[in-house]
């Protein structure tokens, strides 16, 4: 048994790597399906795909034919026995770095010689500094799988679907994510992906290596960022001469950059690495530039260096130009050369070092910029929608920094790097915008559907909320509230529970006489003491009034149930008339006695108003119960602010009608065709209201200058300013119910500007109120002479409006 206190345990867990690979497989399949679906979805996508594929296939055909002819020409020079694949690879390399097939064919003999010499040079050390992953990538790239362009094009337009791939492999490290993208972009052959990605996956599974890998990645990222920053700084400081010196190598770099894999060529070392594979090509190409490589070759040749030796020095010196310079400078032949030769060589080195640095930085900048564009195209729809802007910005940046010269054809090369023509770019941008618009339209349709559902629910609710049953229930609740707080109700309860009520019946017979004899008597006990000390003969009076009151309430309730407020008012007027006549017949006419009698019967102004209010509250609560679900849905749909819903719920506890008005306002603000959900009025009033709300929201309160009611002045000012309103007379009749006017003031005064014109004749108090309220306007108020409580109702309504904050107070 090992000593556990002295042990080290190392675990290599590849489960997560396996899981991620499996996810990668799934997402890859899904992405592939999406791509296929994408092509099927729209004609534009299909057309784009066909066009792109056609273009790529044309290129492939030309490349294949050119490669075959060029390879055949070189092969003839080299004779039989030379590896054909080597020749084709060489031709592909030449093609990639910009040599045309015609040129290759024309100079087949020279190129054949170069190839033979290059193959004789020991290049084993060229890649010595590259790590294994990089080597794998390099190999993959060099393999030149011709299928990659086709695959890349397939993936191109639907590349955003591949975002999931990056997400899936994100936990495996950026490197694998990039590999996956490259693979789908077609930049590396899939057959090589495992060889490159596999080790990285395994490494992420090895605990001991995670930290090291992370540190290395961090260092590389930091180095890349530093290089980019250095380039930007360098560009700022560059003078014209430095740029001119860089031109030759920039040309080389530009032509050497593989259009589809810009990020793989992040430094000149890569470019030089390619050059080292065929030093002859480098010389040939550079001769097309400013000839400095030829100068260098001549200078070194003068010192006794052979071309092969130069290549070997480059290989031994690693990837950077300065390493190469060090290798050459320390050679005894250089040290033994004449001063003029050394000076010449040093000057050349200096120029090349400077140019190499600039070119390296340009390459980094170039790659970074392209990466930004590529990522924007792939993963950021919004950015893709603005692709034209990004493109312009990139061109501007590159032109400003001297990386491209838009007048010298470099612009075209850069455009080719992205594989897009101006038209295609515009089309792609438009496509993205269209997609966004379609998405917006779909979202709008969805929202409209939700709104339609809410509207339907609202209609259904309205249909059910205004039933006789609902009104009866609300009225009963209102009566309960009245009776609980009324004096007569209190007296009734006290009497019913009193032990001393046995002989009350005795006094009942004398009721009529007592009333006639004591017309001014206060026969409504207001307090417990009054009840205790009530003359026995009055108890039957109380009971008689209580019974009558109950009958009246029943009658009013029935009227309300069947006829709503109008029915209620009609019945109320009739009952009041009958009661007043009855009391007059009993000798009670006007004065306190009549008021007391009406109060006892629940027919006084205050009681009626309380009844209306409490009934309105009950109905408002019922309405709010019904609206709650609709409002919640609209909150979920983002059409009503959650805080508004909370406010409504809070207000329901203290002022249900105000809460209902708030709810109506909130619903109205959503754009739904809102009608008052708890309409208590008759159909004609409802029609008036609907007609009113469907008008252009302009209204007027026409009033003659009048006296003041300061409390409502500003409110009406605010509501009615610069507006005109016409309200149907039938609707005016309903103004006795404060809820209606309050709700409408609230409703119409909010986002739009609607006001009310009320025509009133008679009823001086109401006239006075409205006259003053609209004193700067002309108001004619016409109201039924029998309408009761208009003043109070309007005051209540305006008060509601003020309380709800709909108008300034």
């Amino acid at each position: 048994m090992p000593n556990r206190s002295l042990s080290y345990k190392v675990e290599f867990d590849t489960r997560s790597a396996v899981r991620d690979l499996q996810r990668l497989t799934r997402e890859g399949k899904r992405a592939g399906e999406d791509i296929a679906d994408g092509f099927d979805e729209t004609e534009t996508a299909g057309t784009n795909a066909l066009r792109a594929l056609t273009r790529q296939l044309d290129t492939l055909e030309q490349t294949a034919a050119g490669t075959a002819k060029a390879a055949e020409a070189i092969g003839r020079q080299l004779g039989e026995g030379y590896d054909p694949s080597r020749i084709r690879g060489f031709v592909a390399d030449l093609d990639r770095i910009g040599v045309t097939f015609d040129e290759i064919e024309a100079k087949a003999e020279e190129f054949a010689a170069v190839l033979k010499r290059a193959d004789d040079v020991d290049l084993s050390g060229v890649r010595g500094e590259l790590d294994q992953v990089g080597e794998g990538l390099e190999h993959t790239r060099a393999s030149g799988d011709q299928s990659r362009s086709v695959l890349a094009n397939l993936a191109g337009n639907a590349a955003q679907d591949l975002g999931e791939l990056g997400g899936v492999v994100g936990s495996l490290g950026v490197g694998v994510g990039q590999l996956a993208e490259y693979a789908v972009d077609g930049n590396i052959a899939l057959s090589n992906l495992a060889k490159v990605a596999g080790p990285m996956l395994a490494l992420t599974g090895a605990l001991a290596l995670v930290n090291q890998a992370s540190a290395r990645n961090a260092e590389e990222s930091a180095a890349a960022a530093e290089a980019t920053n250095a380039f930007k700084d360098a560009i700022d400081e560059l003078g014209p001469s430095a740029q001119a010196a860089a031109q030759g190598l920039t040309e080389l770099l530009d032509t050497a950059v593989d259009p589809s894999t810009p990020t793989l060529f992040e430094n000149l070392g890569d470019a030089l690495g390619i050059a080292a594979e065929g030093i002859g090509e480098l010389v040939t190409l550079a001769d097309g530039g400013d000839g400095k490589v030829t100068d260098l070759a001549v200078a070194l040749g003068g010192m006794g260096f052979t071309l092969e030796e130069v290549a070997a020095k480059m290989a031994a010196g690693g990837q950077t130009w300065t390493d190469f310079v060090d290798q050459i400078a320390t050679d005894p032949r250089v040290e033994g050369a004449s001063d003029s030769m050394r000076t010449s060589l040093e000057n050349l080195f200096t120029a090349y070092t400077e140019a190499a640095t600039i070119a390296t930085n340009r390459g980094t900048f170039f790659a970074t910029s392209l990466d930004g564009i590529r990522q924007a195209m792939v993963s950021n729809e919004e950015a893709a929608g603005n692709l034209a802007d990004l493109w312009s910005k990139l061109l501007g940046d590159l032109a400003d920094n001297g990386v491209i010269d838009t007048s010298a054809g470099a612009w075209n090369r850069l455009r080719d790097v992205l594989g897009l023509t101006d038209d295609e770019l515009a089309e792609l941008a438009q496509q993205k915008i269209d997609e966004q618009l379609q998405a917006d339209a779909a979202a709008a349709d969805e929202l409209n559907a939700a709104m339609a559902d809410a509207g339907a629910a609202l209609d259904e609710f309205n249909a059910s909320a205004n039933t006789a049953e609902g009104r009866a229930t609300a009225f009963a609740e209102g009566l309960d509230a009245i009776n609980r707080s009324s004096d007569i109700g209190l007296a009734q309860r006290i009497i019913a529970s009193s032990d001393a009520l046995d002989d009350f019946a005795e006094g009942l017979a004398g009721l009529g006489d007592i009333v006639r004899e004591n017309g001014a008597i206060d026969f409504i006990p207001d307090t417990w003491d009054e009840v205790r000390n009530m003359p026995d003969e009055l108890r039957p009076v109380v009971e008689a009034f209580a019974g009558m009151r109950e009958s009246i309430q029943t009658e009013l309730g029935h009227a309300f149930e069947t006829g709503g407020l109008a029915g209620f008012q009609t019945a109320l007027a009739d009952i009041r008339t009958a009661v007043t006549n009855e009391l007059a017949a009993a000798g009670i006419e006007g004065g306190q006695a009549l008021d007391d009698a009406l109060r006892a019967l629940g027919l006084d102004d205050e009681t009626i108003n309380i009844l209306i209010r409490t009934t309105g509250d009950a109905q408002a609560r019922a309405a709010l119960d019904g609206l709650r679900g609709i409002i919640d849905n609209l909150v979920s749909a983002g059409k009503i602010d959650a805080q508004v819903a909370v406010d409504i719920a809070t207000l329901t506890l203290t002022d249900p009608q105000a809460a209902l008005a708030e709810a109506q306002a909130a619903l109205e603000a959503t754009g739904l065709d809102v009608v008052l959900p708890a309409e208590l009025e008759l159909d004609d009033a409802e029609r008036a209201a609907r007609g009113f709300t469907s008008q252009r929201r302009v209204a007027t309160i026409d009033a003659e200058p009048g006296s003041s009611v300061a409390r409502t002045d500003d409110a009406v000012d605010d509501v009615a300013a610069d507006r005109t309103a016409t309200i149907d007379t039938a609707f005016v009749q309903q103004l006795v119910q404060g809820l209606i006017l309050g709700a409408y003031l609230d409703y119409i005064a909010r986002p739009r500007t609607v006001s009310i014109g009320v025509e009133v004749t008679g009823l001086a108090a109401a006239n006075q109120l409205i006259d003053h309220a609209a004193r700067d306007r002309s108001t004619t108020i016409d109201v039924d002479a029998n309408t009761y409580g208009l003043q109070r109702a309007i005051a209540t309504a305006i008060s509601n409006a003020i309380r709800l904050g709909r108008v300034a107070s």
Partner: protein
């Protein structure tokens, strides 16, 4: 014009499936080699006690999806490693199998050992292990998965 696009080479699913298979195979192969590399690192520079060079040993357990290696003292050397690591307090040494102790030609019934300080040798061995195990694992996994 009719365009037919067909896949060239394995699909992404093929590649990932093959990689998963290779990954499982590597777990098995890498275990033994990592055990050997680790013990070599522990042994290199290990102290000598009573004429014996202390050594480490590895116990390897592999599963299709993970690998566990435990490095510990070689058989019979746990105590020695412990002393090399943390030292020993002063103590008496008494004979266990004979009647007396013999040391340098002298006999004694008991010897008063003055104690010795620890030299953190096992810790140092662990540091050597950590130094090599990461690269070794990377190398082995790379090779096992066909990295070039």
């Amino acid at each position: 014009m009719r365009v037919t696009v067909r896949q060239v080479g394995p699909s992404l699913a093929d590649v990932t499936t093959a990689t998963i298979r290779d990954l499982r195979a590597v777990n098995k192969a890498a275990g033994k080699q990592l055990g050997r590399v680790g013990t070599d690192a522990i042994n290199a520079g290990a102290p000598t006690m009573f004429g014996r060079r202390l050594r480490g040993k590895a116990t390897v357990e592999t599963w299709p999806d993970r690998l566990e290696i435990e490095y510990h003292a070689a058989k019979g050397q746990a105590g020695a490693w412990q002393i090399q690591e943390t030292g020993a307090r002063p103590h008496d040494i008494k004979p266990r199998r004979r009647k007396a102790l013999q040391f340098a030609g002298r006999f004694a019934a008991v010897v008063d050992h003055p104690g010795v300080g620890g030299r953190r040798q096992w810790t140092a061995a662990g540091e050597r292990l950590v130094d090599v195990i990461g690269d070794a694992a990377r190398r082995l996994y790379d090779a096992g998965l066909g990295a070039r």
